[in-house]
Symmetry: C2
Subunit: 269 residues, 2 copies
Amino acid sequence: MANPMYRQIAEDLREQIESGALPPGSQLKTELELREQYDASRNTVRDAIRWLTNLDLVETRPGQGTFVTEPKTPFVTTLSGDPLTGLGGGEGETFKAEVHAAHRKAANSPVQVEIQNATEEVAARLRVPKDTEVVLRHERRFIDGTPYSLQTSYYPMDLVNRGAKDLQKAINIKQGTVTYLRDVLGIKQVGYRDWITVRAPNAVEAEFFKLPSDGRVAMYEVFRTAFDGNQTPMRLTVTVYPADRNQLIFNSGTVPPPHNAPGQDHTEV
Amino acid sequence: MANPMYRQIAEDLREQIESGALPPGSQLKTELELREQYDASRNTVRDAIRWLTNLDLVETRPGQGTFVTEPKTPFVTTLSGDPLTGLGGGEGETFKAEVHAAHRKAANSPVQVEIQNATEEVAARLRVPKDTEVVLRHERRFIDGTPYSLQTSYYPMDLVNRGAKDLQKAINIKQGTVTYLRDVLGIKQVGYRDWITVRAPNAVEAEFFKLPSDGRVAMYEVFRTAFDGNQTPMRLTVTVYPADRNQLIFNSGTVPPPHNAPGQDHTEV
DNA sequence: GCAAATTTGTTCGTATGTATT
DNA sequence: CAATACATACGAACAAATTTG
């Protein structure tokens, strides 16, 4: 047996999908029909379909059938922005601007504020001792009604105690927190680092983004540490994006606005 | 049935793994033992293990058993670099510098050169007509003997015709192609855009990186388009990194060198 | 080096549950 | 409510990879 039968069936179906014989959205034959067609057992056919499912080529719907996956329209977030005066890409108002420029509809949940003790990870990135009090500002973002990202910013509680009271109010800070902190405390953001990882979604994320709970769809996790003039972290912003509907851009030096790649939807900040 | 039995078994094992009762690298009970323990069939136990496998919590080795996944030491590539005089991060000699600074051993395959007609994707990003001749320069990269990334750069054939003959020689261009193109043709790179996507590995990549062929491990794909003074693309560099062993950093503005996050291995360019 | 034992991988058949039309 | 289609679960047999004696 060179290749197991379920792989051969999967390859055959895959070719039909990639050749266009089975276009996106179309329905595959039922398991029983495929069982006849390939002279295999139903379990073997299901193994083949599971293989294709893991490759994200098809999706099964109980009671309905198996369908060729329809590619999602990716949204492209430009992470590079003005490090000094404003926010980097993907944050606050720049998110809405970027989405509207792509002729799509942006929405976000009300800001949700919490006070917590820093986890080891947050403490390390903010360079404060573990369990230091931090203010969390959490937001959920949607494009055309579909959830696209989750963002949580962490600020040392110290900033609030020194006068930045609005940080712990559950209100949108219109001018942006960067401008707010400069105006109130004279703290200037001089730069930021974006640290990108990819991992499986946790249960909360799978639920919110309506992802299959088996971790098939990966998440980008972007840790943005922003620094003030003393090269001290002034905040940490963690954003998670499902990789099946998001792409990221970072510009360096002088670059023209991008052409849209085929089938992609994008605009610059 | 609130939750299927295989999920309950999976959750039970998952807790043991996450609590540390089953540490990384340790071996799970065999399928037959688990079948006894949970009073289920072997197939149901296998469904549970498959679930954990998809979450990348365990891996199975035929003839040996099932083992708790050992986390890989991620390598962190800093993609932001000097957009003007040198290369961006992750390219050419900066790759070696970055790896050595992390006290690890870098290696790369000899450069492999080809001439092809641009695919639709390459043509769009280089802003040339489809099927325009382009020179490919391809390299494989290793850290401590493990494959970490694959990089292919595309240059319009026009550059070679205008005198940049070394581009189509299968030799390492010591000073870097950016410096070479400036010296020979006076073409200056003034910036670049990095466009990041995440996707399943193709067959070649799965083979090279020794990834499971079911697309469980995602790949970063970074499209770097570099621009000259006329804001015209002068090259396209496509790099793919397996997401299980790579992380990416972009700096914006003035930022200090990073502290190492827990369990991570990193140094700045 | 080889044979046996162990462990996971593949394939089949069957029955029943759950979601959707 | 019935029909259809995928999901879960059991049992069994043999194949392939690896380790052990």
